[in-house]
């Protein structure tokens, strides 16, 4: 049993502004724990969590990897979140390196093919496009859940950065076309909701980007059916 990170240092004020770890967070922790043996064997050098919020997930990953040295980059568009990420790491004696930014923008060109573990628990709740994009530009707590059409608009933007194909039509892709985040042995763990259309995400990632995938865990939480999908360049058993 790997202990859940200690979050007792987060104040009520913090949790009004930053996503409080919930079922989706814990499902991602469980998936990582299930993969712990393999993750340790891989000895990842660079881990990147997009939308790190409280910092709970990267801290947990740091606890799993223990003495294996790794760089834990954590991004969040919300400044309160990157502050909490830093303090949660400290509270649990894991050094996290948070960066306040949208998705992976300032890291994209330099992280070419170098990310060994990529974690993303996206804002996946279906909302209208306006709500999703204004939540992202306000960079507040709503940005942690408002996901736009099918809850996929923010995820779509990151999927483009993980592996970019030539036919992409998204607003911010031109510069990204030849940029790829995952290292050859990289693993990308994504949280998704049934309404996000998991089979379609998986087949698109395979057809467009050649990324194999596997559902690591699925679990019902209230009305939501949640999935953790793992993407890799080559199929793993």
């Amino acid at each position: 049993m790997i202990p859940t990170p200690d979050l007792s240092h987060l104040t009520r004020h913090d949790l009004e502004q930053v996503y409080d770890p919930a079922e989706d967070t814990f499902l991602l922790l469980d998936a990582l724990e299930q993969e712990a043996g393999e993750l340790r064997k891989e000895r990842p050098m660079i881990c990147l969590e997009v939308g790190s919020g409280s910092g709970c997930v990267s801290t947990f990953l740091g606890t799993i990897l223990g003495p294996i040295p790794s760089l834990y980059l954590c991004t969040d568009i919300n400044q309160h979140a990157t502050r909490c990420t830093l303090s949660t790491g400290k509270q649990n004696k894991i050094t996290l390196d948070p960066v306040t930014c949208s998705l992976t923008r300032p890291l994209l060109s330099r992280l070419h093919h170098t990310v060994d573990i990529l974690l993303f628990n996206p804002p996946y709740v279906p909302t209208d496009t306006y709500e999703a994009s204004s939540a992202q530009s306000n960079a507040d707590i709503a940005g942690s859940w408002a996901g736009g059409t099918d809850g996929m608009e923010v995820t779509e933007r990151l999927l483009q950065d993980v592996e970019v194909s030539s036919f992409t039509v998204f607003w911010d892709t031109v510069n990204d076309v030849y940029q790829h985040l995952l290292s050859p042995r990289g693993r990308f763990y994504l949280v998704a909701l049934k309404q996000n259309n998991v089979p379609s995400i998986r087949s698109r990632m395979l057809e467009d980007f050649g990324l194999s995938s596997q559902i690591i865990i699925e679990r019902r939480a209230g009305r939501e059916l949640l999935f953790i999908i793992r993407f890799t360049r080559t199929a793993l058993s």
Binding site: P69, D97, R105, P106
Partner: protein, 123 residues
């Protein structure tokens, strides 16, 4: 915390700023040293993913002049220790990182770099 290992992975991403947008130059920095466990293999394996000249110059900007200008072919333990110190133990707490091309300044506050852009700067 902005450590030099992180700094070496950040580039300016202002719309249209695509050349000479790396490395960012430190300005008005406040630095703190925090000891970290030395792991020579980690440093050795990380080096191919980093830009040597950018690292040497960044180290100088924050007051560490221990690294040679040219990357030596052989990495002895003494050099790996120096690299470890520069990459992992120097924390930039306050200041800014400025793009040499478009002059955009990214502030660093409480050890966290703010790389957010205004709507019109986003590519």
């Amino acid at each position: 915390m902005v450590r030099l290992i992180t700094h070496n992975l950040l580039a300016c991403h202002v719309k249209g700023c695509t050349t000479n947008n790396f490395p960012l130059v430190f300005q008005d920095v406040q630095v703190e040293l925090q000891e970290a466990e030395f792991n020579p293999d980690f440093i050795r394996n990380m080096l191919p993913r980093l830009e040597w000249t950018a690292l040497v110059n960044a180290a100088k900007q924050v007051g560490d002049t221990s690294l040679p200008l040219e990357q030596p072919d052989m990495m002895d333990d003494e050099l790996l220790q120096k690299l470890h110190h520069a990459l992992m133990e120097i924390h930039i707490i306050e200041g800014a990182m400025v793009c040499q091309n478009c002059r955009h300044a990214y502030p660093i506050s409480n050890g966290i770099p703010n790389m957010l852009l205004a709507e019109h700067e986003i590519g």
